[in-house]
């Protein structure tokens, strides 16, 4: 008898087609807006047209008069129930419906619940709000200016617009490094505000049943258990009577992690009306009020030795958090994992200071395909690295190579104190250079230059921390960031797996089954995966920050091993030998001395229900909670080549090469899909995708006509390559991949454009590299900054 072929049963390394596709291609997905409950009412939110204004009065009488209106809620009515404000996931508070004043354009002011959404919209328009406009702050410079109006006058002890001051690293050691430097390279950068914009907006259906006291909420959430905990704490409802169901999600990208006022209002409305209440956010509401991303400024300095060695790094970031500090992020780290910058480089000393500010803009900052600000960290890192190489007159690839942590230098303490465990950064870079034809391109570039054409090549190399995280350091509101899996093997050897993660396009229904197949030899097609229902799934912290595979995926492997350990006892019983005489091969136990005598995992499963040994607990089910020993550290090299049109500032991508090491690949097809999606968002950030505000705080980018997303037409093609360095501590050696390309990609495009226009002496153009910005850089020969006064505010 031969062992099973792992690829054939859909195990690790199999590019098995996705299970979830069967319903999606038929239009039979079950997104929250597809859910219709008997007697369901519809809610619409009235938002503030002003960015900063005191509310003098709200007159809802005309709204109440419209037939079909069931309830009109204002901040005052919320306050009467102690629900006008809610805690955020970052120890701040956020207004649910405004009471005293509005603090950003789009803030929730009132809500109407009606028989149909058209009526609810009509009624919102019938509400009259009398606002007294206040001075508006749209960037940190204004926010921190002496005498700036106080945005958060609701908070005791808040006398300025500073959210936090935070620092990490070795200040004295860094100062010494700068004293020894031959050269100091400096760069000021802005990572513009962006929005994740999953194609499905947010929303909820709250269904409170007075007879049973049970609250069921269908909700667009990437972290249903966190929501359940939050609802229990905010609404003071018993946790076992709250059921959060996150059905199919039309994308998330971090946009669906925070708790939004609409969820809370729909819940209260359902409790008051005792009927299901559905709230469907429209796209403008999504863009102007929900978790944005980035909006952060850097002043960076790098201490360099003449020969190219980096001696030290200083970073100071100023971040714009909007009116409420509502990010979901590990509570210990105020600016996320910004201090993961420079982790792939061997740098003796580094120091980071970070200041967070309030402004009259929508709250957020962390979201968007990013493990807590590592996107900004890696962008700043790779832009500083490129600028330093240019300042030294060194080849950008060689400069990186000489400063990389060497393959045999692991475990390695990073400049800001993380511990990385593995990496082959040179191999990854060299593979990328070879794939793009680095030397040839330099010749092409020189030749093109002689004919007035501007070609450029940009490199971005990085390692990023994923999989938050170990419970020593990572928690959200005190809840440790472990995750979980629950596996029930039925008597016929078919299985049901549930995890605390929540897929939103990553394909968990396909890949988790592959891990079970790898560990147990149960064919992947025999394993059903369910997620997102807090009444059935084990407690977990959800899916964001690329943590599914590193944490929940590890739990899937561990629970499978628990099942295998019990199956071994059953096998010993069936084979009438002692457990020590049993060997395992994929899908089968056999007697060591007689390999032909064996039982399959399916036979063991049947025995667990029909023929267990005396004294053994029946059944073959178990749960595992996984607390990872460390973060995982995937690494990558992204290289882009571009041509810039000097007459217009328009740049075209010629080629994009990506080399990713995400460790062991569970499903190569899905991994590649994740990388291509990430590269597209990287291209989007570099090229077009940003949200800005005019001086009055009006959001420029409140719909998809103004907020540009790349289409199939602009998006370049991608060439993918791989290096595989298994994660040393993950049970199957995987590291996570969902965000790598979004994180590392943008710098490759920007570096390429900067390389193309290097002869102008311009060192930086801030993202997005709009044609007018690039044209200005080329013709005026100066840097083009996105910092205030913001160019596009003109």
């Amino acid at each position: 008898m031969t062992a099973l072929d792992e690829i054939k049963i859909g195990g690790l390394g199999s590019s098995r087609k996705r299970v979830e596709d069967n319903r999606f291609i038929r239009g039979k997905g079950n997104y929250f807006d597809d859910v219709v409950l008997p007697g369901m009412l519809h809610m619409e939110i009235l938002r503030s047209p002003l960015a900063h204004a005191r509310i003098r009065s709200i007159d809802t009488s005309k709204a109440w008069d419209i037939p079909g209106v069931r309830l009109v809620l204002t901040g005052e009515m919320m306050a009467a129930r102690n629900l006008a404000w809610m805690p955020t996931l970052s120890y701040d508070t956020q207004a649910v419906l405004a009471t005293d004043k509005v603090r950003f354009q789009g803030q929730e002011v009132a809500a109407v619940i009606a028989d149909d959404p058209y009526i609810a919209k009509d009624a919102c328009e019938a509400i009259v709000v009398d606002y007294e406009p206040l001075p508006v702050i749209v960037n940190p410079t204004q926010s921190l200016a002496p005498g700036a109006p106080l945005i958060r006058d609701d908070k005791e002890n808040q006398h300025d617009n500073v959210v936090f001051d935070w620092e990490v690293g070795d200040k004295d050691g860094t100062d010494r490094a700068f004293e020894q430097a031959d050269l100091v390279s400096r760069l000021d950068l802005h990572y513009p505000r962006s929005h994740p914009s999953p194609l499905e907006c947010c929303g909820s259906i709250a269904d409170f049943n007075r007879a049973t006291s049970k609250l069921t909420v269908y909700m667009t959430t990437q972290a249903p258990h966190i929501i359940r905990a939050a609802v229990a704490l905010v609404a003071e409802l018993p946790e076992q009577m709250i059921r959060i169901i996150s059905p199919d999600l039309g994308g998330g990208f971090g946009n669906k992690v925070p708790v939004y006022p609409g969820y809370v209002v729909s819940i209260l409305a359902s409790i008051l009306l005792e009927r299901p209440v559905k709230w469907v956010e429209d796209r403008s509401g999504n863009l102007i009020s929900t978790g944005f991303a980035r909006d952060i400024y850097l002043h960076g300095e790098m201490a360099l030795r003449k020969d190219g060695k980096i001696l030290g790094v200083r970073m100071h970031t100023t971040s714009d958090h909007g009116a409420f500090f509502s990010d979901a992020q590990p509570s210990k780290f105020k600016i996320g994992l910004m201090h993961s910058a420079f982790s792939c480089y061997d740098i003796p000393a580094a120091h980071l200071t970070a200041r967070g500010t309030y402004t009259n803009k929508a709250p957020g900052g962390v979201a968007y395909r990013c493990s807590f600000r590592v996107t900004e960290a890696m962008f700043f890192q790779e832009r500083m690295v490129q600028a330093a190489a240019d300042d030294l007159g060194m080849d950008q690839a060689e400069f990186r190579r000489m400063n990389f942590v060497k393959d045999d230098d692991f475990p390695h303490r990073t400049p800001y104190g993380f511990l990385t465990d593995s990496g082959q950064y040179r191999k990854c870079l060299d593979l990328g250079l070879e794939a793009i034809g680095y030397q040839d391109f330099q010749k092409q570039k020189a030749e093109a230059k002689s004919r007035g054409r501007l070609l450029g090549i940009g490199i971005s190399t990085m390692t990023e921390p994923l999989g938050a995280g170990n419970s020593r350091e990572y928690d959200i509101l005190g809840i440790k960031m472990f995750d979980s899996a629950d596996l029930k093997v039925h008597m016929t050897g078919k299985a049901l797996l549930r995890t605390g993660a929540k897929t939103q396009g990553q394909g968990h229904e396909t890949t988790w089954a592959q891990i079970v197949a790898h560990e147990l030899g149960i064919p992947a097609e025999d394993v059903t995966v369910e997620e997102g229902d807090t009444d059935t799934a084990p407690f977990g912290m959800g899916t964001y920050a690329s943590r599914s595979t590193p944490v929940a995926g590890a739990a899937v492997a561990m629970v499978s091993r628990k099942i295998r350990a019990k199956a071994r006892k059953l096998a010993a019983h069936l084979l009438e030998v002692s457990e020590e005489d049993i060997e395992w091969e994929l899908g089968r136990f056999y007697v060591r001395s007689a390999p032909n005598r064996g039982v399959s995992i399916q036979e063991c499963a049947m025995a667990a229900y029909s023929n267990m040994p005396d004294g053994m607990e029946p059944g073959l089910e178990n749960t595992a909670y996984y607390d990872p020993p460390n973060l995982t550290w995937p690494f990558a090299c992204y290289i882009a080549t571009v041509e810039v049109d000097p007459q217009t500032g328009v740049w075209d991508v010629l080629r994009v090469v990506a080399v990713d090491d995400c460790g062991v690949r569970i499903n190569p097809m899905i991994v590649e899909g994740q990388i291509m999606g990430g590269l597209t968002e990287a291209y989007a950030m570099a090229n077009m995708q940003f949200i800005t505000f005019d001086a009055d705080g009006n959001c420029i980018g409140s719909n998809f006509m103004d907020y540009l997303l790349p289409t199939a037409w602009e998006t370049p093609g991608f060439e993918l390559h791989e290096v595989v360095t298994p994660c040393p501590h993950h049970p199957i050696g995987a590291k996570g991949i969902g965000e790598c390309a979004t994180v590392g990609g943008p710098a490759a495009f920007v570096n390429a454009v900067m390389d193309a226009i290097k002869d102008t002496g311009v060192r930086n153009v801030d993202m997005p590299l709009l044609p007018d910005r690039v044209y200005e850089a080329i013709t005026q020969r100066h840097d083009v900054s996105g910092a205030p006064p913001v160019k596009s505010d003109d």
């Binding site: 219709v36 079909g68 597209t680 199939a712």
Partner: protein, 174 residues
């Protein structure tokens, strides 16, 4: 019936106008009484429970609501239901027969042309209209045809491959 969002609605205000529309959806004649302002996407989703038609932007940009209108792709979120009176509408639910998927559906699965699935119905219907008109499109022609449909997950490369896969299958190549 003024509201399509409730099985039994209270008596509507007398000044709410109602129009009767009759249309063919996925080959079947259907009729409804609607407010003139009701959007086609909402008639399909709430009225006829064809929830494969998604709405993602409300401004005709994202294409998640794309349906075939007399064979041509239109964005049903900015079309009134009354405009569909007497016309033929195909939604994603009309692509497959009981036993067989459309080659475009197969292509999306084979080439991993979807992740969250939200843009997929609109993408597939736009692709079907393209292939009905041009059975052998180039990659650029596919990219141009799909440029009115946004995807936030895949980066389009696999969507383009999926459409080319379907084109080859429809031509009898494998």
């Amino acid at each position: 019936m003024t509201s399509l969002f409730e099985e039994i609605t209270p008596e509507p205000a007398s000044d709410v106008p109602v129009r009767r529309v009759t249309l063919t959806i996925n080959g079947e004649r259907r009729a409804a009484e609607v407010e003139p302002r009701l959007l086609l996407a909402h008639l399909l989703r709430q009225g006829f429970r064809l929830t494969g038609t998604h709405t993602g932007c409300d401004t005709t940009n994202c294409g998640a609501c794309t349906v075939l209108f007399d064979g041509r792709p239109v964005k049903s979120c900015t079309m009134l239901a009354v405009q569909a009176d007497g016309h033929d509408v195909t939604t994603v639910e009309g692509l497959a027969t009981a036993s067989e998927l459309d080659p475009i559906q197969e292509g999306f699965k084979q080439e991993h042309g979807l992740q969250c699935g939200f843009c997929t119905p609109g993408m597939m219907l736009t692709a079907k209209a393209l292939l009905d008109e041009n059975p052998n499109p180039s990659e650029d022609e596919v990219r141009w045809a799909l440029s009115g449909n946004l995807c936030r997950c895949t980066g389009y490369q696999n969507i383009v491959k999926a459409v080319l896969w379907a084109a080859a299958k429809r031509r009898g190549e494998s």
